[in-house]
């Protein structure tokens, strides 16, 4: 089996990968980074999102070999060395933007990317950006709140129209 080498969360990592091995599988099985989750087999759910060369990518929709030489960041690379949560992670905890936590790594990765290019997203922009992330537990409302908090915006925009 060919070796694949990439930089993951700042560290050079190599392992063998078959031609058909998905990046998600590679991260979980070969590198033991089980924070990247797999919730579907049709690239519909977003549980597997990681960052590849600065872009949020569904790692189940990419082959490990295609990531040869890439710079990858996973959920495990979000908190600081001393364990301090990133601003997005802290906002998810504060606003209870998670319940079972299975969709959460993908949500956090996706939101982190959003805030990088859109520091103050509107609610419509948040919804548009997270349309590819399925959460079965939360009803999404606390996730929107978490994004607003992570981007230093008031929660008032979520109020009703009457």
């Amino acid at each position: 089996m060919p070796m694949v080498t990439m930089t993951v969360n700042g560290q050079p990592r190599s392992a063998e990968a078959e031609g058909r091995t998905l990046l998600s599988q590679f991260l979980r099985e070969a590198l033991g980074l089980t924070g990247t989750h797999v919730g579907c087999d049709t690239s519909q759910c977003g549980c597997c999102i990681v960052e590849v060369d600065g872009r949020a990518v569904k790692s189940c929709a990419m082959l490990a070999q295609e990531a040869e030489g890439a710079r990858i960041t996973t959920i495990e690379g979000q908190a600081a060395e001393d364990g301090t949560m990133s601003k997005v992670q802290a906002a998810f905890v504060q606003e209870q933007g998670l319940q079972c936590g299975f969709c959460t790594p993908g949500m956090v990765m996706s939101v982190t990317e959003l805030l990088r290019h859109t520091p103050k997203p509107s609610i419509d922009e948040i919804k548009h950006h997270l349309e590819g992330n399925i959460c079965r537990c939360t009803g999404y409302r606390n996730i929107i709140k978490a994004v607003l908090v992570a981007s230093d915006q008031p929660l008032g925009a979520l109020a009703s129209d009457h």
């Binding site: 989750h37 797999v38 919730g39 579907c40 087999d41 079972c100 956090v108």
Partner: protein, 778 residues
């Protein structure tokens, strides 16, 4: 003490940080290195006779270590999966007969649904196992497939079970059928509705996964599998393996959602366990999403005909529900109870209906077995009552809110023993209705409707009142210990699948004991630690485990008082307890609660004989269900041209009793509401007539996404505490789902009424709404 919980401004959350960092320990994450990989060969035919299974080519592939079929499982001494909670008559006294449906872990001579497991391939890599599985050839002679939730009066061709020539699983009655029918017939207004609760896929985001191993020395199987509590699973698992309960060890760590479908044993767990034993190595299996859609137990799937007999002044004199519940190919778990006894437990709702009758009939079909999915009978019941109220209001020309008011059970009538013997000990239904009307600005709606019309939108508003049962299995043991290193250990059976039980229960313990949150070890999910107790089902953990925690902590304080009496010179009634510390009056001597085990050990080492201990298993016994209730309102807009619908405002006013933590209550409601909205507007498992599953992936099974959620949401607690448990809490896990299906359906019906649309069935997709408007105007 109780009041103080609910006012917690920031939620106690001991669980989320690890999850948000990707450090969760879901079953597939913790499979041991070197575990073998199992892949199942599943039926591609809905109903048929297995003529042959050819594994020769598959067995040749490098890396393949074993291929197992029904014969291997039989040789290994396994039994079909039978475990089921009996279906009881409405008075709970006699078991009601149902067709026995032994479910093999691997189908041997007959397949009864698409996705039924036929063979298990085990290899040293996932790829090799998959390649080999693709080479297994199964020859199946097709039989007539039976699909759909309908019952034939006559025998059918190729019935699924010989015992049931027309595929009927059971017949179940509640109430005085004749009296109800006679009263309806004599009522001046008779309103009938047909309501379909389409088949749903529970779809927790973590697909089911399991790792099994066998220790030949002890003869014990160990199974790692996500569950809502290990006990029911363990029982079914041991029975299927043909061993005693002591020979199985079941462990659930983090669980990525349950919703009712991670309670019982599944065929895959039995098959991989036998393989692990035969191969002498751990075997792991993780479902793909398409496998989950083919093999996870299904939800809902019942067809209801509901008839109400009303007086001219709107009094509901009698109600009759005729239900057909689709069991799928096998009756599993509490499957047959969902469309029968659970309906009876909930059908009274908030209304003082003098006479209620139910007929429920189960039908087998060549589909995945059904069993509870969040709400499990409660949303269906509310759907019948609340759609009926809206339709009756039209026919009787009485305002729909006023019609409800005229039928409500009054707060003054509490405790109210309902027709089926359940006691409502609290609940102010008029208050939740008033609250919802005010919070949703119901009175101002017509102006909003008129404004929407100018934009080409049909705006509608709808409400649903509900009363539901919570707290199933009325006993809850809790194992309470304090260790010599000064830690409280709490062992409970209900596993959290996202409810943050550890946080809630720890919060209760610490509030009572006056100790810091990090002094509690919460132990759940391992059947060796916690052998008995009920799982996380039926909105029970807050009130049941919470109450057990409350009792255990208070009784430990009393035992501690006696211990302090022995260790000091004080008399127990001179000893006060506050903030985790005992103080002996007079001497002023103090002892910390958490220090007592160490001090006891020291005293005993010095030869003192003190029998007391802080440790005890306390059992909370509740007198029956509690009855969460509420009123929800939804406001929607439908596009006149496309049928596209948006939920604008959603208001929930809920009485879930005393609130331990408002934000957690809100989280449960929001998640539950979203699942009900999914049923209301988009989700549906679709089988074609030959039994092929058309909604076999998330491309076709429509999971609610962020864009479908209500734009605005208001959640109000209106507690009327229950005296049935020391916390006064009623449960909240299912309320959102129980209410939201009907709430949204009523709002959409209201929006489309102006266009002459009368019959709407969920899921209310844009194409259905468009079609309904088109047909109505034609």
């Amino acid at each position: 003490m109780v009041e103080k919980y609910g006012t917690a401004q920031s939620p106690v959350d001991l669980e989320s940080e690890a999850l948000v960092k990707g450090q969760g320990q879901y079953t597939d994450d913790i499979a041991p290195a070197g575990a073998l990989h199992g892949v199942f060969v599943r039926s591609t035919v809905a109903h048929g006779i297995i003529r042959s299974i050819d594994t020769a080519a598959a067995a040749e592939l490098p890396g393949v270590l074993g291929i197992y079929t029904a014969r291997d499982l039989a040789d290994a001494g396994t039994n079909p999966i039978m475990f089921m909670v009996p279906l009881m008559s409405a008075d709970g006294k006699t078991p009601v007969p149902y067709v026995s449906t032994p479910r093999p872990a691997l189908a041997g001579d007959r397949v009864r649904h698409i996705g039924e497991a036929i063979a298990l391939v085990v290899a040293d890599s996932a790829g090799a196992a998959q390649d080999a599985a693709d080479l297994v050839e199964v020859d199946i002679e097709e039989l007539t497939a039976h699909i759909g939730t309908r019952l034939s009066e006559d025998p059918v061709e190729d019935p699924i079970w010989d015992e049931a020539p027309n595929n009927q699983a059971y017949t179940w009655y509640a109430g005085d059928q004749e009296a109800v029918q006679a009263t309806i017939a004599a009522s001046p207004y008779k309103v009938t509705l047909e309501l379909n609760n389409q088949r749903l896929a529970g779809s927790p985001m973590e697909p089911r996964a399991a790792t099994a191993s066998f220790d030949p020395e002890s003869g014990r199987y160990t199974l790692y599998a996500g569950s809502q509590g290990t006990m029911f699973l363990r029982k079914g698992f041991a029975d299927a393996l043909g061993v005693g309960m002591d020979k199985v060890h079941v462990i659930s760590k983090d669980v990525g959602g349950g919703f009712g479908l991670k309670v019982y044993v599944y065929p895959e767990y039995v098959a991989i366990s036998v393989a692990a034993r035969l191969l002498g190595q751990a075997v792991r299996w993780t479902a793909t999403r398409s496998e989950a859609l083919q093999a996870d137990q299904g939800g809902r799937d019942s067809h209801c005909t509901v008839t109400g007999g009303f007086d001219a002044d709107g009094q509901l004199n009698a109600l009759y529900c005729d239900i057909i519940g689709n069991m799928g190919a096998y009756s599993i778990g509490i499957g047959p109870r969902v469309p029968s006894s659970v309906i009876a437990e909930n059908i009274v709702g908030p209304y003082a209906t003098p006479l209620i009758g139910i007929r429920s009939r189960g039908v087998h079909s060549n589909t995945i077995p059904t069993s509870p999915y969040r709400g499990a009978g409660r949303p269906e019941t509310t759907y019948m009552l609340e759609r009926l109220m809206d339709e009756a209001a039209i026919q009787l020309d009485i305002d729909r809110v006023e019609l409800r008011r005229r039928n409500l059970i009054d707060r003054e009538q509490m405790p109210f023993t309902n027709q089926f013997g359940h006691v409502y000990d609290s609940g102010d239904f008029a208050a939740v209705l008033d609250g919802a009307m005010a919070s949703s600005d119901w009175a101002g709606f017509e102006a909003r409707r008129a404004e929407a019309a100018t934009r080409g939108k049909l705006r509608g508003i709808g409400c649903a009142l509900f009363v539901e049962t919570a707290g199933a299995y009325f006993q809850e043991p809790l194992d309470f210990r304090v260790t010599e290193d000064g830690m409280v250990e709490v062992r409970v059976v209900g596993v959290s699948t996202g409810q943050r039980h550890r946080s809630t229960i720890t919060h209760i313990a610490c509030s009572i004991l006056g100790i810091p949150l990090d002094k509690v070890r919460y132990i759940a999910g391992d059947s060796d630690d916690v052998p008995v107790g009920s799982p996380t089902v039926g909105s029970r953990v807050g009130q049941m485990t919470g109450s057990a925690m409350h009792i255990a902590a208070h009784s430990a304080i009393e035992r501690g008082r006696a211990i302090v009496g022995h260790l000091s010179s004080g008399q127990p009634n001179d000893i006060t307890f506050a903030n985790g510390v005992y103080t002996v009056a007079g001497t002023g001597e103090t002892m910390a609660f958490l220090d007592l085990p160490r001090r006891l050990a020291e005293a005993r080492a010095e030869g003192r004989e003190i029998e007391e201990t802080l440790d005890a298993v306390e059992t909370f016994q509740s007198p029956g269900f509690s009855f969460p209730n509420g009123c929800h309102v939804a406001e929607v807009e439908v596009d006149e041209l496309t049928g596209e619908m948006q939920i604008l405002n959603y208001t929930a006013v809920d009485d879930c009793g005393n609130v331990i933590n408002h934000r957690e209550v809100e989280a449960q409601l929001m998640g539950g509401i979203a699942q009900g909205i999914g049923q209301g507007i988009m989700e549906q498992m679709v089988y074609d007539e030959s039994g092929q599953l058309l909604s076999g992936s998330f491309m076709d099974y429509a999971m609610p996404r962020i864009t479908e959620m209500p734009q605005a949401m208001t959640i109000v607690d209106l507690p009327d505490p229950t005296p049935s448990n020391p916390l006064g809490a009623k449960g909240v896990g299912e309320s959102g789902t129980t209410a939201s299906v009907s709430t949204v359906a009523n709002a959409v019906a209201d929006a489309l009424r102006a266009r002459g649309v009368t019959n709407l069935q969920t899921p209310l997709t844009a194409s259905r709404l468009w079609e309904a408007m088109r047909t109505a105007s034609a």
